[in-house]
């Protein structure tokens, strides 16, 4: 029987903390991009 490496979450969950900065930045950029788009939309519809 084979096990996936995810089997022992407790052994490697700390590694997820290394992904944190990337996730935070991606979320921030996605939010900014969504906000920019939202700002543009009303301008487009007014023309």
């Amino acid at each position: 029987m084979t096990f996936l490496p995810v089997a022992h979450f407790g052994h490697w969950y700390v590694t997820l903390l290394y992904l944190g900065p990337v996730i935070v930045l991606v979320l921030a950029l996605s939010f900014q991009s969504w906000r920019d788009k939202r700002r543009k939309d009303p301008e487009d519809s007014s023309h």
């Binding site: 052994h11 903390l17 991606v26 996605s30």
Partner: protein, 471 residues
């Protein structure tokens, strides 16, 4: 585009983190004593990169590196080429001879240490400080030039074929991948005589390449090691060219990189192979249920012997990590494309590829600094006893490796600083190029948002790999 990018990014980064785990501390001695958890260094490094990014956006409104001027420091006599080439050939002969004639123990024979430590790690470090120091001593280039001169004098031989544009740096990319395969996947990698055979085969291939396409074109695009060291030399403030030594701002050689086909593949291979070296030493690869162990079992079940199963598993892992690194870079490029101005992803990928050079160097330093600092000392006694037969040519055969030269904690700090500086330099190069490509500084900064994600992703990946290796 943004949604697709976010989804794709999540998948690639999740894959990257699901795979990895560690990297490496070749010969690391002692235990690290750190004031904060290692993962916090990744957050601190990311913060430094974000601050650097903001600093670049505010304080760097015009390109500075793209057209930086060089100043001649001194002129070198052309006659120096010959003795330099002869020295390179002499070292080459000694290394190959030691591999064949010496004891077949990797630590007692000169050849493995010269190849894996001095050549593979030492020359990149020297190149980024002193410029392309390998080129004048490149033994196969010296042989190619010498035989070319002789053929010309005798009035024999045909003119070389023009180097095909489509071939670009692909031969170099495959050459570096092949060397990394030998280093990381081949089970007989440390056998001195096998190494000597491979060195001779590589040199022969280079001489064939130079005789077909000419020494200059082949050495600049096809010679894997010549190209590899030449890329790092582009970061140096010193530039050796046409019998002159010139100085230029640090990093200013990188924007002059001609992004011919294969350049992106070469740099992604350089970063990916170093990453896999770390990954393959960590618990997610080597653990009881690690990916590497599972792959080996699969191939054992298919009837392969243990050695071949191991090599296949490592080959798959090596190529997989190179593809993950390429995917991360591609994501940054697709993100840049979303800024508009009708640039294709392929064009942007090539035009920003030079920003990966300092990252590749950072990975080499971070990954191999302990190897260089500890095992590099072995050269002191190996030059006195290159064959391992008890000779003492220079009286240094009894020297030993001083492991107190740097502590494990010191190595960790060197690794962190190398990664942060390398990625900050990558950001600066990408920012400088964006100012040339995009119409306004604002668009240039916006285009670099996703490159910032890429840089932080590579930094976190590097620290994660290293921390797993040290754990």
């Amino acid at each position: 585009v943004s949604r697709r990018l976010t989804a794709a990014g999540t998948i690639v980064l999740a894959a990257a983190l699901a795979l990895p785990a560690t990297a490496s501390a070749h010969g690391l001695v002692g235990k690290q004593d750190l004031p904060i958890p290692r993962w916090l260094f990744a957050w601190a490094a990311s913060l430094v990169l974000v601050i650097s990014f903001v600093g670049l956006a505010v304080l760097w409104p015009k390109p500075r590196l793209e057209n930086a001027r060089e100043k001649r420091v001194l002129r070198l006599p052309a006659q120096l080429e010959v003795p330099a080439g002869l020295i390179g050939i002499a070292i080459f002969v000694i290394v190959v001879y030691a591999g064949f004639a010496g004891v077949q123990t990797s630590t007692a024979n000169l050849t493995p240490t010269v190849v894996y430590v001095i050549f593979w790690v030492g020359i990149p470090v020297l190149s980024c400080i002193f410029g392309d120091v390998f080129r004048p001593f490149n033994p196969w280039l010296a042989v190619g030039r010498g035989s070319g001169w002789l053929v010309k004098r005798l009035g024999a031989g045909a003119d070389p074929i023009p180097y095909p544009t489509w071939l670009g740096r692909w031969p170099a990319a495959f050459g570096i991948l092949a060397f990394a395969w030998v280093e990381l996947a081949y089970t007989n990698k440390a056998d001195p005589s096998t190494l000597s055979i491979m060195i001779l085969a590589y040199a022969a291939a280079q001489i064939v390449g130079m005789s077909v396409y000419g020494t200059d074109a082949w050495s600049r695009y096809g010679d894997a090691f010549g190209v590899y060291f030449g890329l790092f030399a582009r970061l140096s403030p010193l530039h050796w060219e046409r019998g002159e030594l010139r100085r230029r701002p640090f990093l200013a050689g990188a924007p002059r990189l001609d992004p011919v086909p294969g350049t992106v593949a070469l740099l992604c291979t350089m970063i990916g192979t170093t990453s896999f070296d770390g990954f393959s030493q960590g618990p997610l690869w080597t653990g009881t249920n690690g990916l590497g162990i599972q792959l080996q079992h699969r191939f054992l079940d298919l009837g392969f012997n243990a050695e071949t199963a191991l090599e296949i598993a490592f080959t798959i892992g090596l190529i997989g990590v190179v593809l993950v690194v390429s995917g991360i870079y591609r994501l940054g490029v697709i993100g840049m494309q979303s800024v508009g101005e009708n640039h294709t992803a392929t064009e942007l990928g090539r035009r920003f590829v030079h920003s990966l050079i300092p990252i590749a160097l950072a990975y080499v330093i971070a990954h191999y600094c302990s190897l260089l600092l500890y095992q590099g000392q072995a050269i002191g006694y190996l030059i006195s006893d290159p064959l391992g037969n008890g000779s003492n040519i220079f009286g240094t055969a009894n020297q030993t490796i001083d492991y107190s030269i740097i502590t494990a904690t010191g190595v960790w700090y060197v690794q962190v600083v190398a990664l942060v500086l390398g990625h900050a330099c990558g950001l600066a190069l990408a920012h400088d190029r964006a100012l040339v490509i995009y119409r306004s500084p604002r668009a240039a900064t916006r285009s670099q948002y996703w490159m910032l994600v890429v840089m932080i992703g590579f930094t976190s990946l590097g620290l994660w790999l290293l921390s797993a290796a040290n754990s």
